[in-house]
């Protein structure tokens, strides 16, 4: 009786492997759009069901499937394509069935019972080893995307992270969030912060192929007020993110200064106006050259001291600053009102997201690899980024 049971199990396993083999040669079609990474070229491409492409699963890694891609006429596309398992499971016809068979075969070969249904994470939980859609950004590779996924384990509020990644994705290959950013005017090109650049050069030159810097970005959480502000509520939590240094995602947490119009009297809220000393919410792109904040202020002696601090910390002898271009109706006066990201000796600002002098390298890095993304985020009052996106 025991031998019959063992034989039945072996037959069942053989049947499963036979079935798997059939599916391995099975071609699949899409039931929704997915992103593919071509590892040969490093390019990410978005594929829609209407393109009538077909796919074969040629292998798998911990979080991805390796795919062969066929055009509608049957010819195979050249390249080394991979895509996240979550994509395939949800986007391929039969793909989840394939996974279910694989799990059944593994369970049986280990002497257990086959699972009654595929393991799915409960709603809202993240499945380790998968890459969320937000992290599947054109122009990034698998390593970048894996580090991006690590950010969801950091202290960055998930909604803020999602917002920032959405801005990055929308503008990954062309400048699409261009409907609101210069409607209120930008600084003149002869201003010390503009380094000779015009709005046209920004839009059609620096950003012509989308946001260049996908390595470093800054997210400022305007809701998380640091106790180090001296009790006057004027410091928020800053996250400096680097997805290109080291083997893991780098997240540096520190403070940024809020505008006194927002944090002291509070009467001006986050209004996007002039002479209000407000912090403004929304997404910004930076200039690609840093400048010396000493040249734009009458606080010369204070900022000369800051420049020495920066130099002593290993940086250039200047009060590092970078121009911010607000992309939304909630922050598009930032350029003309001179709300820069800069190092500061103060415990508050007049609307600039200023940071401590030792963090000068963040500004220099955002500028040198820029334009880069800076986000002033809050749970309330964020404009839908699509409103300003074509």
């Amino acid at each position: 009786m025991l031998k019959v049971g063992v034989a039945m199990r072996i037959l069942f396993v053989l049947f499963i492997f036979y079935t798997l083999n059939l599916y391995a040669e099975q071609r699949y079609e899409l039931n929704r759009g997915i992103s593919l990474l071509n590892q040969s070229s490093g390019q990410t491409i978005d594929i829609q069901p209407e393109q009538n492409l077909q796919f074969e699963i040629a292998g798998e890694g911990s979080w991805f499937y390796r795919l062969r891609v066929f055009n509608s006429d049957g010819t195979e596309r050249a390249g080394d394509f991979i895509s996240a398992k979550s994509n395939i499971d949800n986007g391929f016809v039969y793909a989840s069935l394939l996974d279910q068979y694989a799990q059944a075969a593994e369970a049986i070969s280990q002497g257990g019972d086959p699972p009654s249904s595929p393991d799915c994470p409960p709603n809202g939980e993240r499945d380790n080893g998968t890459i969320s859609e937000n992290c599947q950004i054109p122009g990034t590779d698998a390593e970048w995307q894996a580090k991006c996924e690590q950010l969801y384990s950091s202290n960055i509020p998930e909604d803020a992270l999602n917002y920032a990644l959405k801005v990055m994705k929308l503008n990954a290959t062309s400048f699409r969030t261009n409907k609101c950013f210069d409607s209120q005017g930008l600084k003149q090109s002869n201003h010390p912060s503009m380094m000779g650049m015009t709005g046209d050069q920004l839009e059609n030159g620096l950003l012509a192929n989308g946001l260049p810097n996908k390595c470093q970005m800054v997210i400022n959480d305007t809701d998380d007020r640091s106790p180090s502000s001296g009790g006057d509520n004027c410091r928020g939590r800053m996250y400096y993110i680097d997805l290109c240094q080291g083997s893991d995602a780098v997240v540096v947490e520190d403070y940024f200064n809020l505008g006194t119009g927002t944090c002291r009297s509070g009467r001006n809220g986050f209004r996007n106006g002039d002479g209000l000393h407000t912090t403004v919410k929304g997404a910004f792109f930076t200039h690609n050259e840093a400048f010396d904040f000493t040249n734009t202020t009458t606080q010369t002696s204070q900022y000369n001291a800051v420049a020495r601090q920066v130099q002593n910390a290993g940086g250039p002898r200047r009060a590092s600053a970078v121009h911010l271009f607000g992309l939304q109706n909630t922050n598009n006066l930032a350029s003309i009102t001179g709300k820069y990201m800069h190092v500061s000796p103060h415990r508050s600002s007049w609307g600039c997201p200023s940071i401590k002098p030792e963090n000068y390298y963040m500004i220099e890095s955002l500028a040198n690899s820029g334009p880069s993304l800076v986000l002033n985020w809050g749970r309330e009052g964020m404009e839908d980024i699509e409103t300003c996106t074509e």
């Binding site: 003149q188 201003h191 106006g273 009458t298 204070q302 009102t337 709300k339």
Partner: protein, 111 residues
């Protein structure tokens, strides 16, 4: 036509070039360069802000950095378009209220 525009521009620019600072009690309006203006408190020289200006329709339109406010300026009049703030964050500051000072005649001009 171009000559007329050029002469108008020269006239406008020269009227600025002849005059480096103005009295606007109790403040001083100091033209630092062709495109930079400092407004300072007459009582406390530490209370000041730097503004950057560009010519638009024969009038200089000036914006302060670090959200210090904005105004329009010609050689006779300053017209505030928002509150203007002098001073520094975390330090003493002085606000020239937009509502109370929408348009102020520049009384005198000194070099």
């Amino acid at each position: 036509m171009y000559r007329i525009i050029f002469v108008c521009f020269l006239f406008s620019f020269n009227s600025w070039a002849d005059c480096f600072s103005y009295k606007m009690k109790p403040y001083k309006v100091i033209r630092k360069s062709a495109s930079q203006v400092i407004i300072a408190s007459a009582k406390d020289s530490e209370l000041s802000s730097l503004f950057f200006c560009s010519m638009k329709e024969k009038v200089f339109v000036c914006h302060g950095d670090d959200d210090s406010g904005s105004f329009k300026l010609d050689d006779k009049r300053i017209k505030f378009t928002s509150d203007v703030i002098l001073g520094v964050p975390d330090g003493p500051s002085e606000v020239i209220q937009f509502k109370e000072a929408k348009s102020i005649e520049l009384k005198a001009c000194t070099k």
